[in-house]
Assembly symmetry: C2
């Protein structure tokens, strides 16, 4: 990795982590157990890929301020999705990034409620971030719409339920793709879109970012499937092999590990090609795309 | 009840119901089970008190358009809260308004996910309602903030968890009041606030509405406790006596039924007095306040 880019991404990640820690400790008054469950869920270890994509696309479109507050809003939605994904009625997982899952640590009711509180928090965080970036109220409104559409029934949570319903079924590659475009792709595409909107990008540029984000999001999920099938729990920091244990169809089980990996790589190459063609290939954005293809955990 | 007001409220309720049915059938693409669970949860029978309060306060501050889209946004949040309140990890209830609860009808995972999808939907609905009312983006932003702050950790869902945590404990009246101000009061206060903001009310008028809403919301919950303790499941359309079964401290168990009823009535009188003093005593708003005190189900 180019060292300067590495330093930039590390600095951005530290800012996002700092913002998440600040939000987790602020303004969440009652009750204590809810505050603790939200704090625990927001401050878990993570790569902050979605937040970094917000900051990279903001930067690629010429944004000059610190977009870490906005980046944190997307990470709050992502953190919520992990909390609910792990619930007993969903994947029933007990380990996440090397720690007990939120419901294991705080109980199912607190985890369920903390998840919803985090969605509400992500919305207020988006509005506040837009204010601190000096954006017009109309842009703030757009950011909220993009984030909620990506999170809701037609996006992430719709994908979560489709994913659950596919357990134990033989699923076609097309059906898998529909699930993952919704479950993972929508929020990753939203991250790029939101960074672009916040930077005041043209409709064309924001559309280009969104399209690249969709490819990147699908690639991310494909590599996730491959990693689940090929890694140890220790490397992943979460339970490995859980897809097979849940009889879940994945890209790895449906296409085979090698073909899945190739498909993921091709999607990343497509995304990078589109970004380049659109003149949106700043260093951090390209580096994050490369990371999606190459990551080991 | 004054017949003209009765007709007005019935007409408004029909509009809110129509809007909820429209939203429930639109734009929630995938998967089918999620669409069905959301539709089921949004179109259950209900009094739409919160939505009617939005329309009444909009009207009281001189709003002249149809605010039923905005009213529906608040009702979507309320409907979500019922879905999650009934979950096995919460009150574990099987009957709601004479029908099986959403998780009984569609399973726990679908109900959990449908709830979150409804929160996201309430946000996009608020933004769209503000647009259709011709409001400035800054007002749209305020409406979103008010709704999410009332729904989140410091409001409704914070109150839900405090309520759960109080099960089996002896709780003081002050603690009960804190729970119910958050769990029920916050969204009712938000309903009045949102109607006032949408109508372009002054800060003073909107604050007066919010304060009256807080009293009214607490009164609503106190009467709910009294009804749970004194009614049959048939009259309520939901399981009666569930508070006692869950060893929940309520106003009825803590103060006794008569004193609780008196406290509720006094709060309603206070709210009506404040509204009158502020010149905000239009017919529907007063009628809704009276209804809170007198309702039988």
């Amino acid at each position: 990795m180019n060292e300067a880019i590495e330093v930039t991404l590390a600095r951005w990640k530290a800012r996002i982590d700092g913002e998440l820690a600040r939000v987790a400790s602020n303004g969440i008054a009652l009750p204590e157990s809810l505050r603790d469950a939200v704090h625990y869920s927001l401050t878990g270890d993570g790569k902050r890929i979605r937040g970094l994509l917000v900051m990279a696309s903001y930067d690629a479109l010429g944004g000059t301020r610190d977009a870490s507050q906005l980046a944190a809003a997307v990470e709050i939605v992502h953190a919520y999705s992990l909390v609910h994904d792990d619930l007993p009625c969903m994947d029933n997982d007990s380990l996440r990034r090397g720690r007990p899952t939120t419901h294991r640590a705080y109980g199912v009711a607190a985890a369920t409620i903390a998840g919803v509180a985090m969605v509400a928090l992500a919305v207020t965080q988006t509005v506040r971030a837009a204010e601190s970036l000096g954006l017009a109220p109309a842009t703030s409104r757009k950011l909220v719409m993009v984030l909620m559409q990506a999170s809701g029934a037609t996006g992430m949570v719709g994908g979560q339920l489709m994913d659950l319903e596919n357990e134990g079924k033989v699923v076609s590659v097309e059906q898998l793709e529909a699930v993952h475009r919704a479950k993972t792709g929508a929020l990753i595409a939203a991250s790029l879109t939101m960074g672009g909107l916040a930077a005041g990008g043209s409709k064309q540029a924001v559309d280009d970012l969104a399209r690249a984000g969709e490819s990147l999001g699908l690639a991310f999920q494909i590599h996730d499937d491959v990693l689940d099938a090929t890694s140890s729990s220790e490397t992943l920091g979460k339970t490995a092999g859980i897809d097979a244990a849940l009889s879940k169809s994945t890209y790895a089980s449906t296409l085979g590990v090698d073909a899945a990996r190739q498909k993921g790589d091709k999607l990343v190459a497509d995304a990078m090609g589109s970004l380049k063609a659109a003149g949106l290939h700043n260093g951090p954005l390209m580096e994050l795309a490369r990371f999606v293809a190459a990551r080991q955990s």
